[in-house]
């Protein structure tokens, strides 16, 4: 609030920091840090002084450790041989337990800590495990639990102490101890631990139940063979009472197991079916129904799931009924012998009281009655993959100026597949507190921005926006990033420039581009003003080559041109006259991936049949430089920028051949599917088959892979 007023009293605060009163010392240190936290040099000076002189208050020591570890993290993420680290380590030998624990936890939380550096901290925590104080035991186990996530081997030394804590009267401590052991223990101890934990699982709070479930799901990935034990345990937990978060964690875990282990699919689905019979959470019920629709038809006896799904249609709320109808349709489409029964059930759903359910039933009924594979694929398995706000906008536009032409679905921007972020770290944190916001996608924001510029309005809908590419080194005078926007016949390059010199004002900033291929630069739109540290954007419009549609790859050499006006760093007042200058940027490449949008086809086989072999091409390549199948898969996926389907981006261990399925949409809205069969034998041999609804797309892929 009154930062500046307080700042004048720094000297007094400094004096107070060496006061005899322990609390005064602590508060003075806190204040000093707060005043200086933006000045890294001053903080490190302060640390230096206090680590040498030593402090009296344990609180002040804790504060100092936190400041030190923060500084350490900011300055050199890697090397830990600085005096700061030594200081933290020396605190492990402090008299006060509070300080010792703070130091241990600081070391444990440091990124990329080696096992050797962890060892002293872990042994301190091990001592705490046998403390009579519950808080201390809790703190120690919780921290060890975190160590176990990153360095399970470092904690194995504590296994014996942790075993003793399993029967601790404080259930939080017992739960943490068991989940830690589950992470470090061997496969043989899993059964015993699971039995132990199930004896008191009903007594612990929901937060810890979630921790247990997460530990189990981690375990399943480690020991896939134990999935039957886990599955049993999880289904028991599923039957118990619990909040939404807890149930969701269990359902996610079971779904994870089903996806990882095909042999556990049937038991898993059976448990989930049982769960939705009595599930008050709409979100979970619809999720499970969706999964049933996806996986159920491919099991040996799909008919047994129909009963569960149809029960939902009879008993549940609208949202669940609608999801159940969609799931039913998938069974009907994939299993011919079930089709007549599904049609009968659909007929019944057409009399539902809810609009959405009736609509879906009528729609699926009609599609299914056609009995055409291509229709089934397009409308039942692989639904629309357009961005919803984009669709809304296009439809609105269409209704504004009515025309004879039917609405073209291809003009709607595609939804970019959300990148599923894997939660690698699992800790007892408040999962319930994270608000789930529906943010408009990045592309929709760009679409809006570009549509506001007159020159770009005639280009049609935005097809794809790439990730930002850095065109300058990290710490230079000007920072320039480029985002490539692809339209059906043009590309727009958006240069986000930042001026990091406070004595300059840049005007009329333009990035001049020299293409290597037959691309043609049509327009430059300059950024009028570029003041210090205020980012601005300038654009270049480029026409894609028309005579040779397969020439999509291109390299541009870029130069930033601008008018410099020197200005006073303090006031920002520019001089009257300026001079022209230029700044050479790094080359910008347009790749195949820029022309292809990722699309997830849940049922690749059906999509493959739907596109047909009209423009199919096949070729075989030898990738001599690649040593493993994993590497080959990774390279192809990132090179083509397409979406791997049917989990084919994961190569099973110890296999010499693999098939990769990729799906995408080529610029202009043509579906594009790639099937790559790979075999490993002294380098990787790859047979690529490409199908598309457009010949150009096939040629582009073939030309670029070769």
């Amino acid at each position: 609030m009154s930062y500046d007023v307080v700042k004048r009293w720094v000297n007094e605060a400094q004096e107070a920091a060496s006061s005899d009163n322990v609390m005064v010392q602590y508060h003075a240190l806190g204040l000093l840090y707060h005043l200086r936290k933006n000045d890294r040099l001053a903080v490190s000076k302060m640390l230096n002084k206090f680590t040498k002189s030593g402090l009296k208050s344990p609180f002040a020591y804790c504060m100092l450790i936190r400041i030190a570890s923060k500084l350490l993290e900011e300055t050199d993420g890697g090397s830990h041989d600085s005096p700061l680290f030594d200081f933290i380590e020396s605190c492990l030998r402090n008299k006060n337990e509070m300080v010792v624990y703070e130091a241990a936890s600081a070391i444990v939380h440091m990124p990329n800590c080696t096992a050797r550096e962890l060892a002293p901290a872990v042994s301190v925590l091990q001592l705490f495990c046998s403390s009579p104080k519950a808080a201390l035991r809790y703190a120690a186990v919780r921290t060890l639990n975190k160590v176990a996530m990153k360095h399970p081997s470092a904690v194995t030394a504590c296994n014996l102490d942790l075993e003793n804590l399993i029967t601790d009267s404080n259930r939080s401590i017992a739960t943490l101890a068991i989940t830690t052991l589950l992470k470090t223990g061997s496969e043989s101890s899993v059964d015993r631990l699971m039995k132990q934990i199930s004896s008191f699982v009903s007594e612990i709070s929901d937060e810890f139940k979630v921790v247990v479930v997460q530990a189990i799901s981690a375990l399943c990935q480690k020991y896939p063979r134990k999935h039957s034990v886990m599955m049993n345990f999880l289904s028991n937990m599923l039957r118990d009472d619990g909040g939404f978060e807890y149930k969701r964690a269990i359902v996610d875990c079971i779904i994870g197991i089903i996806e990882e282990n095909p042999e556990s699919k049937e038991t898993g689905l059976a448990h989930l079916c049982e769960f939705i019979e009595d599930c008050e959470h709409t979100v979970l019920a619809t999720k499970i129904l969706h999964l049933l629709g996806k996986e159920g038809p491919r099991t040996p006896s799909p008919s047994k799931y129909i009963r569960f799904i149809f029960n939902r249609v009879v008993l549940e709320s609208e949202a669940v009924r609608a999801a159940a109808v969609s799931a039913l349709a998938k069974f009907g489409a994939q299993n011919d012998d079930l089709l007549p029964s599904v049609l009968v059930l659909m007929q019944r759903c057409m009399m539902d009281s809810d609009d959405e359910v009736r609509d879906r039933a009528t729609f699926y009924m009609n599609v299914l009655q056609q009995k055409q594979k291509a229709l089934n694929a397009a409308y039942i398995f692989n639904g629309l993959c357009v961005s919803v706000p984009g669709l809304e906008k296009s439809l609105h536009q269409y209704t504004l100026d009515p025309s004879e032409k039917p609405f073209d679905m291809k003009s709607v921007p595609l939804a970019s597949t959300p990148i599923s972020d894997h939660k690698s770290e699992m800790a007892p944190v408040a999962t319930s507190k994270m608000p789930e916001r529906l943010a408009p996608s990045r592309q929709d924001i760009y679409q809006e921005q570009l549509a506001a510029i007159a020159e770009f309005q005639a280009l049609g809908p935005l097809f794809k926006s790439s990730e930002a590419v850095q065109l300058t080194e990290a710490e230079t005078e000007y920072v320039v990033r480029c985002v490539k926007h692809t339209f059906s016949r043009h590309m727009v390059f958006q240069f986000d420039c930042t001026n990091t010199l406070n004595d300059q004002l840049l005007q009329k900033v333009v990035v001049q581009m020299e293409p290597s291929e037959s691309y043609e630069v049509l327009h430059y739109i300059p950024a009028a003003n570029l003041a210090y540290s205020q980012p601005g954007s300038c654009y270049s419009l480029v026409r894609l080559p028309e005579e040779d549609p397969t020439a999509v790859l291109c390299t541009f050499s870029c130069t930033m041109k601008y008018l410099v006006r020197d200005c006073d760093p303090n006031t920002g007042e520019p001089d009257d006259d300026g001079y022209d200058d230029e700044y050479v940027l790094e080359d910008l490449e347009v790749t195949v991936a820029d022309h292809i949008q990722k699309v997830l086809k849940p049922n690749f086989g059906a999509a493959w049949e739907e596109v047909g072999e009209e423009f199919e091409k096949e070729e075989t390549f030898a990738l001599a430089s690649v040593r493993t199948l994993d590497e080959a898969v990774g390279n192809i996926v990132s090179f083509l920028g397409m979406q791997p389907c049917e989990r084919s981006d994961k190569v099973p261990d110890n296999k010499n051949s693999h098939i990769l399925f990729l799906a995408g949409v080529f610029r202009g809205g043509h579906d594009l599917l790639v099937r790559a069969r790979m075999a490993l034998s002294d380098g990787v041999t790859m047979q690529v088959t490409v199908r598309s609804s457009d010949e150009t797309a096939v040629d582009v892929i073939m030309a670029s892979v070769g």
């Binding site: 806190g30 804790c62 404080n170 007892p428 319930s432």
Partner: protein, 178 residues
């Protein structure tokens, strides 16, 4: 995600409350305005905490994403709440200091009735230990000295007797001097 992204700060304690053995609130302080801003949410949280903790004296629990340390005495429950990254031992120190100070001013009768009778002293103690979430003092002796609060009835009678004797002495002294 919950690593040491914690900014080093003096603000350690998020909340502090005292409940009776039915889970009713006797005293509560919430120091983080973002945490349970309304009384209704606070009551919910307290009820939840009470239900999970009153059965067993376990000292520490992790609830609703918060570290809660607690202690019970006869028919009272004392709670100190901090963020999940907070040093549990710091919170424990606060709780111990609170408990020891209160047991001093209540003359070891840490019970609901005595607490209510000396509520003003309890408030003084709490404010002396924590100010807006910052730990001000952790030594019970220091707290008592600063509060300088004497439990009601006893202090009144003792003090008056001493005063009477003192004034009598003065009177006698003056009368002799004359």
């Amino acid at each position: 995600m919950d690593s040491m992204s914690l900014e080093p700060s003096l603000y350690t304690v998020k909340a502090l409350f005292i409940l009776d053995n039915d889970g009713n609130r006797l005293l509560s302080k919430y120091y983080d305005p973002e945490l349970y801003p309304s009384v209704k949410e606070q009551n919910n949280f307290e009820k939840n905490v009470f239900n999970k903790t009153h059965k067993a004296d376990n000292e520490i629990a992790f609830l609703e994403g918060m570290t809660v340390v607690y202690k019970s005495s006869v028919d009272l429950f004392f709670y100190v709440v901090g963020s999940p990254q907070e040093n549990e031992l710091m919170l424990m120190t606060v709780l111990n200091c609170l408990f020891d100070s209160l047991s001093q001013i209540l003359r070891k009768n840490v019970e609901r009735r005595y607490l209510l009778e000396n509520m003003e002293g309890v408030f003084l103690v709490v404010d002396e230990i924590i100010d807006g979430g910052v730990i001000l003092e952790s030594d019970p002796q220091q707290v008592l000295q600063k509060v300088n609060y004497k439990s009601d009835e006893s202090s009144l009678s003792e003090q008056s007797v001493a005063q009477v004797i003192q004034s009598a002495k003065e009177q006698i002294k003056w009368s002799i001097l004359k």
